[in-house]
C-alpha cells in the first residue's frame, strides 16, 4: 500500500476527520454550505430580475425606512456577538454566562423578527403583493417593477424563516443548557447556525436595501 493510501486510510478509516473537526461540526458546515447555496441561488435570481428588467428599480429609501433596516441590522449583529460569547462561555465551562448570553441572543432574534413583521405589514399596506403592486396603491404610484415586491417577499421571507427556526433552536438549546443537558458542542452548533443567519443578512442588507 502506498504512503498516500495509508494516509487516506488513517483519515477516513475511522475516528479521525480529514477536516480536523468532529463529525457534528463537519456535518453542520456541510449543511451551512448547502443552505448558503440556496441563498446564492435566490440572490442570483434577484440579480437576474433586476438586470433584465426594463422598468427601473425604485430607490429603496422611497419604499423602506433605511434607518429602521439599519436598526434591524444592529440587532442581528449584536445578537451574533452575544451568541459568540455564549459559545466561548460554554466551552470554558461558565454555564451561567453561557445561558445569560443565550437568552440575550433569543431576545435579539425575537426583536429582529418583530421588526420584520412590522416591516412586512408596512410594505403590504403600501400595496405590495407577491405578484406585484396593487393597482392604485402607493407602491404602484412609484412605478415599481412587478418583480420588486416578489424579490422583497422571497428574500426576506426565506431569511426570516431561518431566523425563526434559529430562534426555536436557541430556545431548545437554552432550556437544555439550563438543565445541564447540552454539552458545549451543542451550544457551538446552535451558534454556527445563528451566525450563518447573520451572515446571510449582510448580503441581503447590502444587495437589496442599499444597492
Amino acid at each position: 500500500m502506498s504512503s498516500h493510501a495509508t494516509s487516506l486510510e488513517a483519515h477516513w478509516g475511522g475516528g479521525v476527520s480529514p477536516f480536523g473537526a468532529t463529525w457534528q461540526k463537519t456535518m453542520m458546515w456541510i449543511f451551512i454550505v448547502t443552505d448558503a447555496l440556496l441563498f446564492g441561488g435566490l440572490l442570483t435570481g434577484y440579480a437576474y430580475l433586476r438586470m433584465a428588467g426594463t422598468v427601473p428599480w425604485p430607490k429603496q429609501s422611497e419604499v423602506f425606512s433605511i434607518p429602521f433596516i439599519a436598526l434591524m441590522t444592529f440587532i442581528l449583529i449584536t445578537s451574533s456577538m452575544t451568541m459568540g460569547t455564549a459559545v466561548t462561555a460554554a466551552r470554558l465551562g461558565d454555564s451561567r454566562k453561557a445561558l445569560r448570553n443565550l437568552l440575550f441572543t433569543i431576545v435579539g432574534g425575537a426583536a429582529f423578527l418583530g421588526c420584520q413583521a412590522y416591516e412586512w405589514t408596512h410594505v403590504i399596506h403600501q400595496g405590495a403583493r407577491l405578484t406585484g403592486a396593487l393597482p392604485g396603491s402607493e407602491l404602484a404610484a412609484l412605478g415599481v417593477p412587478v418583480h420588486f415586491p416578489a424579490s422583497f417577499f422571497v428574500l426576506t421571507g426565506f431569511h426570516g424563516s431561518h431566523v425563526l427556526s434559529g430562534l426555536v433552536i436557541l430556545i431548545i438549546t437554552a432550556i437544555r443548557s439550563g438543565l445541564g443537558r447540552t454539552p458545549a458542542q451543542g451550544v457551538e452548533m446552535a451558534g454556527l447556525y445563528w451566525h450563518f443567519v447573520d451572515l446571510v443578512w449582510v448580503f441581503i442588507f447590502t444587495l437589496f436595501y442599499l444597492l
Binding site: 477536516f19 438586470m51 441590522t73 459568540g84 466561548t88 451566525h195 451572515l199 447590502t206 442599499l210
Partner: protein, 100 residues
Amino acid sequence: MTQGADNPYRIYFTTWIALLVITVLMLGAEALHLPRLFLVVFLVAFMFVKAVMIAGNFMHLRHEHRRLVITVAVGILVTSAILLAYVAPESASVFRKTVR
C-alpha cells in the same frame, strides 16, 4: 482556540464594533449619493469584509483546519460565481431584446 489569551471574549466585542462601524460607513456612502460605480464597488467590497469577519471571528473559521476553510469557501464562492457568470450575460441579452 487561540483567541485573546487574556480575555477570550474580546474578539467578539472588537468584531461587533468593527461590524457596526462598517455598517455606518456603508449607510453613509448610500446616503451621500456617490457615483453609482464607486458606490457598488465600495458596498460590495465592505459586504465581503463583513462576511469574512463574521465567518472568521464569530464562526471561528479562521481557527479551523485549512481543508475545512477551503471546502466551505470554494463551495460557496465558486458555485455562486458560476451561477452569476451564467446569469449576467443572459439577463443583459434579455434587457437588450426587450428595449429593442
